[in-house]
Amino acid sequence: MAANLAQEDRWIPTTCGVCYSVCALQVHRVNGTVVKIEGNPDSATNRGRLCPRGVSGIMTLYDPNRVNVPLKRTNPEKGLNTDPGWVQITWEEALDTIAARLSKIRREDPRKLLLTGTVTTQDEVPFAKIFAMTFGTPNGWNSGAGNHCGTAEHLFGALLHASWSKLPDPDHCRYLLNFGTGTGSGSYYCVTGMAQRIAEARVRGMKHVAIDPFLGPGAEKADEWIPIRPGTDGAFALAMLNVLLNELSIYDGDYLKHHTNAPYLIGDDGLYIRDAKQQLPLIWDPVDAGEKPFSDPTIKDFALEGEYRVNGLRARPAFTILREHLKPFTPEWAEPITTVPAATIRRIANEFGQEARIGSTIVLEGKVLPYRPVAVMYFKGAQGHKNALLSSMALELLTEVVGASNVPGGLLGMNSCSLGYPETGQLKWTPKADRDGLMVTGRWPNPSPPYPPREVKGAETIDLRGMIPTCPGSSGALPVVMADPERFKVPYKIEMNLHVGSNYVMTFANPKAIEEAFRNVFQVSFALFLDESTYLSDIVLPAASYLERLSHTADWISSNSPVGEWCYHVRQPVVGQIAERRSACDVLLELVERLGMREEFYNFVNLMLEVKAPYTLETDSRYSWEEIVDRRYKSLFGAERGLEWFKEHGLVKWPKKAEEVYWKPFSHTRVPLYFEWFKPLGEKVRAMSEKLGIELDTSAFQPLPEWRPCLSYKENSRDHSLYAIYYKIPMQTFSGTYNNPWLDEVSKIDRFAYGVAINTETARQRGIREGDWIEIKSSPTGNTIRGQAALTEGIHPEVVAIAGCGGHWSKYLSVANQDGKGLCFEWLMPVGLDNVDIPSLTQDQCVRVTVSKARAQP
């Protein structure tokens, strides 16, 4: 063994960028080579530990498949399997070409520019958003909105939790009802931190009930696994609500009266009854026997029940309407839909209701707070359906009716309320009440949160979001509208795609449909690899990975764990520049100069990055990316804590207060139990769609949840008798990690990671044995994918489950593109408006398939 006298031996604090958890790292570099990545023990986010993906980053840093130089295509023909004929060009030529195109589009119509991003680059994509905003386009999406992201779930995050996402209180929750998420098991938000915290809760004795078609990473850790037919979680939740409210009479009356619109009087038209003078929603005070505006200081009590008359009209509290509305949704009704026995649904409702301990309190930091140690989690799986809005609504109401929302033990928004960094008061946000008393979120990753909703605009965007303000982020309708803007009366076509770090061809839905929508667009890609999406690119720019670039980071409101401490980190390069790779932020700044956009861009940067005097960017200077990061840090954390300080210390943290974590009892805001404004909004959307001559099914804009089967449920074919679902595993993030050979090595020895989970009996009926190659053919798309059968008792007999987004075919991914490296689920998913939940623009992701043994068994 050679003796190595190290001249350099450094540990560099930075952050991981493999997924959106943004864990903090200490990276060990010896003589210029990165030899180890560890969790930063100082960070409150991941507390010194990492998931396998975080550890594996070294092999992505040094992967020889990485794009190292700018490239342009020489083959004018574009196709999923058509080699672009890449030739190397200089950065100068690349930027000249890009700037010329952008200039032309900006002159003609800036709306023709689309920004395609991803959630895993939590620094470059937000900066690219600022670029796109300045440029003047409203068009952008994160491609995972098809198959990997929550959409309706984030909408309700805004409406009910003042946050993008939510987690169970790991310190105090006693009963976790988990509809299909992997929280604590290697996916969802704050992966590493929550894995530790949920493990503590498990050891502490928290009961975990997992409702999931597959015994996957999440359900494996549950105390009870309840298999369910895909897409029917909403029916289960409706039945539970019915049992709680109408059979057991378990609900938190106090919470409902003071923190929701449950007491608001609703007329027969389904709308609030408002007082004539101030137009405020009315409630009924049973003590004074009269109606009063909800905020009237003389109110002695709020009626939740009953029927009253106001100005001669029938007036009922929203709670009464909800209770009545729920009556048909019995466990017996839900059983054939979900395949969950009625007795089980009833038992779970009872357990949940009992464990909610309504009326009990706990003392934290000297404050007496409601103690409701139950939480209902759901994410992509349960809400990724045509019934997204109404199913998510039912699931959320479970938490609300027992008052377990943002109180100790319950479901906590990440991160709803921040009192700010103590030394500067920056990074402060609090939910506020609007005129109707309803909660408006204090911070949102997009310029307008879903509530109060923007006006319905016609044909403003290339994805229906302008018309449907309840879509919280990326739209599942984007490829549909892009493929046929005339049908949707959009007066322009997308001509250029600024594509930052996403593999949208693989991660949205049917790649063939995506190819058709994007084929004729000039695409500029910042790419780590020549992945499948770059087959549609015109120019590829060599991207610096997260280990090679600088950023302020972890601003994503869902990176911070919901409890413990606030923690903001730096991301800094751990190696010098490799080849010609550059950070997108750097490149965008150069494009800004070339486009003469400096004055406008700096104004937006000051606004969006919260840069304050005396650090604001002035137009007569030109700033590097380092300088901008430095100024943002100083604006937020003070003159002493600029970039240099962060590079040395890695992070700043301070303890969370009880009123930040458990903000609901301290807040005068109310959240909807009854989504009164959905219906009139739906009517506006319908009116606009009719005016434009577009067919849109707006019937799901309802104030109360109901059951609507998704398309796969309604399909009743003997051929396509199984459902295919996708799920996340801790060894892979979407499609981006499949070329990492360490992750490949551990995936290879897990039969589920690269295979297809299928019920033992279901397999036997088809003559399929363990390890057999099988074919899964999609009913809606007709595409077939293949993988090896992993037989298990731990899956619903009607379901096959595919992990992650494997099945790469790009010839430039030497590890990932081999046979047997997972399946690309998205081939099974159709693109079309029929598959989209119109109110939230969520893409449906369960499909009917045929499964058979492949004729050729290698």
Binding site: A132, G136, W141, N142, E600
Partner: protein, 129 residues
């Protein structure tokens, strides 16, 4: 037009090329201030020039100014900036001399200043999560 209802205002407007527009209201007596309006963001497809130089009485409110801009640029700008109830959309931020305006009823000037710089930002949500 104008805060006082019956009082009408004369404004002289020039576009970026210095071409004057015909005044469309009669003269008021307040002192005039130079107002420079700059537009940023998702509004470039509606507004054909930025910055725009105006002269307005210093008793004008921001609402007066924005209404004037809407008159200049048409219904499309109205749709881009306003809710149906006549308030600014949540993604529109107006800054007067680097301070964000809290309400459209704020006065443009304070009687002392002879000029004001107004920035109208129209933010767009170009990607979600």
């Amino acid at each position: 037009m104008g805060r006082q209802g019956r009082l009408t205002l004369r404004v002289s407007m020039h576009n970026h090329n210095g071409m004057p527009f015909a005044p469309f209201l009669t003269i008021g007596k307040e002192s005039l201030m130079q107002v420079e309006v700059r537009f940023y963001g998702f509004v470039r497809d509606v507004v054909d020039t930025s910055p725009l130089a105006l002269q307005m009485p210093d008793c004008c409110t921001l609402r007066n100014l924005v209404d004037l801009l809407v008159q200049r640029y048409g219904e499309k700008l109205h749709e881009r900036l306003y809710t149906n109830a006549g308030e600014l959309e949540a993604n529109v931020r107006v800054f007067v001399e680097d301070a964000q305006a809290g309400s459209l009823e704020e006065l443009l000037g304070d009687g002392q200043k002879s000029s004001a710089e107004v920035k109208v930002f129209v933010l767009s949500a170009t990607a979600g999560g």
